[in-house]
């Protein structure tokens, strides 16, 4: 949990409005564009300073694309992204580079995201070099400090990524993300590849770092238990759209969107004494190339009606600070 006080007005760090990202599909002899994968299609949310906003959803729901698009690691097709009040949607390369000090990313795959030919020191130092921060000695001191912060001994500096376990590599990735003292960290499935006992170590570390440095996290994961544990607020995505967004407590206690409800009821709970009504959704997630008309969930929704086939629901505030995109909730 972050250090956001209950009664303080929320200060918005990042504001995302109507974000879309279409990936073109090319085909034929001249690679003409024959269609689009609508990975993200009209997503809006606020990221409040000091909070952890969790993004959940199944594969292909667009959560990763959203995470990368708000950092402009991929160019959004349309929509606006404001960071500390500044519209950064059309920042040029130079402006973005300066801004990247403020926003960093941690990746899922602790194996693929570290260059195997660089030592740990070089990996963590690289962002400092790129941003011309400090001289050699200062940078080395900073790397030592960062290793200490993430719980690695400084003698690890001269070693290479292959010498580390998955959990340790993830710590290296976190140290690299912290190097420039960012305000925002997008954590893209940071614990999915780790074993349970290591996963809890990394989750606790991320929480400690947030408290210590006042970080804001956009935390992307498909594990609902992880999301519920670490997030202050949770956004549930389905097929490129935001289905529901509310505080972690509310969304678990009283999910409003039928998809959220089904998603929570589908998670096996490690307690055989608990018996639950389980909602098993039929069928698969439709293709984002041709998403269903109207509400995207209507093909699998247990309460869908004619209106859902025609009209796309907008995200509205059904209860205080509890937003849902459903005609009937």
């Amino acid at each position: 949990m972050s250090a956001v006080m209950e009664n303080q007005p929320h200060e918005v760090l990042m504001e995302v409005r109507d974000l879309t990202k279409y990936f073109p599909i090319t085909g034929g002899l001249f690679s003409r564009v024959v269609g689009h994968v609508k990975a993200v299609d009209g997503v809006s949310f606020d990221l409040r300073r000091g909070e952890t906003l969790g993004l959940v959803g199944e594969s292909g729901c667009g959560k990763t694309t959203t995470g990368r698009a708000v950092l402009r690691l991929i160019e959004p097709t349309s929509g606006t992204i404001k960071f500390e009040g500044q519209d950064i949607t059309h920042y040029n390369k130079q402006q973005m580079r300066a801004l990247r000090r403020q926003m960093q990313i941690i990746f899922q795959d602790p194996f693929g995201s570290l260059n195997p030919r660089m030592s740990v020191e070089q990996i963590i130092e690289e962002p400092l070099v790129i941003h011309h921060m400090g001289n050699r000695k200062e940078r080395e001191a900073r790397v030592r400090e960062l290793l200490d912060v993430v719980g690695l001994a400084s003698y690890h500096m001269r070693r290479y990524p292959h010498e580390f376990s998955g959990g340790q590599r993830q710590r290296i990735g976190i140290a690299r993300a912290l190097a420039l003292n960012p305000k925002l960290i997008v954590a893209d499935e940071p614990v999915s590849a780790l074993d349970v006992s290591i996963q809890s170590q990394i989750l606790n570390l991320l929480e400690d770092l947030q408290a210590e440095f006042g970080l804001t996290y956009l935390f992307i994961a498909h594990g609902l238990n992880v999301i519920r544990h670490i997030s202050d607020r949770v956004g549930v995505m389905y097929l490129g759209a935001m289905a529901e967004i509310a505080s972690s407590e509310d969304i678990y206690r009283k999910p409003l969107h039928p998809y959220t409800e089904a998603l929570f009821s589908a998670i096996p709970i490690p307690n055989p004494d608990i018996k639950r009504e389980r909602i098993i959704l039929q069928g698969d997630v439709p293709s984002p190339v041709n998403p269903p008309s109207g509400c995207r969930f209507h093909t699998r929704c247990p309460i869908a009606q004619e209106k859902c086939r025609v009209e796309r629901p907008v995200l509205k505030e059904s209860e205080p600070d509890h937003w849902v995109a459903c005609h009937f909730r």
Binding site: M1, E58, S59, S165, G167, D195, V196, S197, I198, Q199, S200, Q201, L203, N204, E207, H222, L224, N225, V226, R228, H229, I230, S248, E249, Y252, A262, L263, F264, S265, A266, I267, P268, I269, P270, N271, P272, D273, I274, K275, R278, I280, L281, D284, V285
Partner: protein
């Protein structure tokens, strides 16, 4: 009446690497009865998959070798079978489904052909009958319009559909033991719920014994009748599912259960952490392999390895804290089965 389908006794599988032998599975014993689901839980490298591959005798050799023990399947020792006899058992009486449904299907054959192949081989049916059987199995696992889908190739199906095809193939010869190695790990939660539901249904219909290998304790709680927990190649605890979750005995099991973020509990508290990492299998610590990470380790733990000892009805644990008979809990007469299914 339930009967013993599989009885593994003191199984040891080592991998002989350049740096020395790795004891992937070390003196492991467990059993599975018909119509029963046994879950094998543990983290990466604990030996759960090697155990299942040893049963199937699919251990790559060299470097792997089953160095000792017995695998009694329907009363007969599989380790004494010739490769030819094993081939007749594999896919027929013992079937297996894997984690990755894409790589375990052949991309250049239709799914109907792939299921029919096993049926022709083991059940001696002719081609047309085998195809009919394949379609029937696809219907059984809930694939819509199976007559049509049987002509499709694996790439035309989604992950959940492919896993259904794998299950259809595994069940096509009506096996008495199904080994499912992380069958839902690669799937999304809503699809996982469908597949778990399907496995429960098939177990009821076919009375198959299921060995479910997983790292997900939630899946264990929903699916298994009994559980064995593995750590560094050894079984550290064996228990009926309900008892294990109510009162885990081994400190490793306790740590595992406490370190998962829970949906059914408040989130404000910090997660429990098991310190350190799994030991290097080449240099296992002396005494109990979990002792270096164990919050309750005593002097004896670092000196002498405990053995798996029965402490009450159906419960065994390998821990020096529990060898004292005073610690034994009242017997539970296996009533947990009802709640877990």
């Amino acid at each position: 009446m339930p009967h013993r389908v599989l009885d593994v006794k003191n199984l040891s599988t080592y991998f002989f690497t350049e740096d020395g032998p790795v004891k992937s599975v070390d003196q492991v014993s467990f059993y599975i009865d018909s119509e029963e689901t046994l879950a094998v839980v543990g983290e990466s490298g604990c030996g759960k998959s090697v155990t299942s591959l040893s049963i199937m005798q699919l251990i790559p050799s060299p470097p792997g070798k089953i160095v000792g023990g017995e695998i009694l399947f329907q009363g007969e020792d599989l380790l004494k079978k010739s490769p030819d006899e094993m081939r007749k058992i594999r896919g027929n009486q013992i079937a297996m489904i894997f984690q990755e449904p894409m790589t375990s299907l052949n991309p250049v054959y239709t799914i109907g052909d792939q299921i029919a192949e096993a049926v022709i081989l083991h059940q001696k049916l002719d081609k047309r009958k085998a195809w009919e059987r394949a379609v029937e199995m696809l219907r059984e696992v809930g694939i819509p319009s199976p007559e049509k889908r049987a002509h499709e190739y694996p790439h035309q199906m989604s992950g959940g559909m492919r896993q259904r095809v794998m299950i259809a193939m595994a069940m096509s010869c009506n096996p008495s033991l199904l080994i499912a190695d992380e069958p839902t790990t690669a799937l999304d939660v809503t699809i996982q719920a469908q597949i778990l539901d399907l496995m429960r249904k098939l177990k009821r219909e076919f009375h198959t014994a299921i060995m479910l290998i997983t790292h997900d304790l939630g899946v264990v709680a929903e699916m298994a009748d009994r559980v064995v927990v593995m750590y560094a190649g050894k079984i550290v605890e064996e228990s009926p599912t309900v008892d294990l979750f109510r009162e885990p005995l081994h400190p490793y099991t306790q740590g595992l259960l406490e370190s998962i973020p829970r949906l059914d509990q408040p989130t404000s508290e910090k997660l429990h952490v098991i310190d350190g990492t799994v030991p290097n299998p080449l240099h296992l610590p002396k005494g109990c392999t979990f002792a270096p990470r164990c919050p309750k380790a005593m002097d004896v733990c670092r000196e002498k390895a405990p053995t798996l000892t029965a402490v009450s009805e159906g419960r065994k644990v390998s821990c020096w804290m529990h060898v004292d008979p005073q610690h034994v809990d009242p017997p539970t007469d296996g009533s947990g089965k009802e709640v877990a299914s």
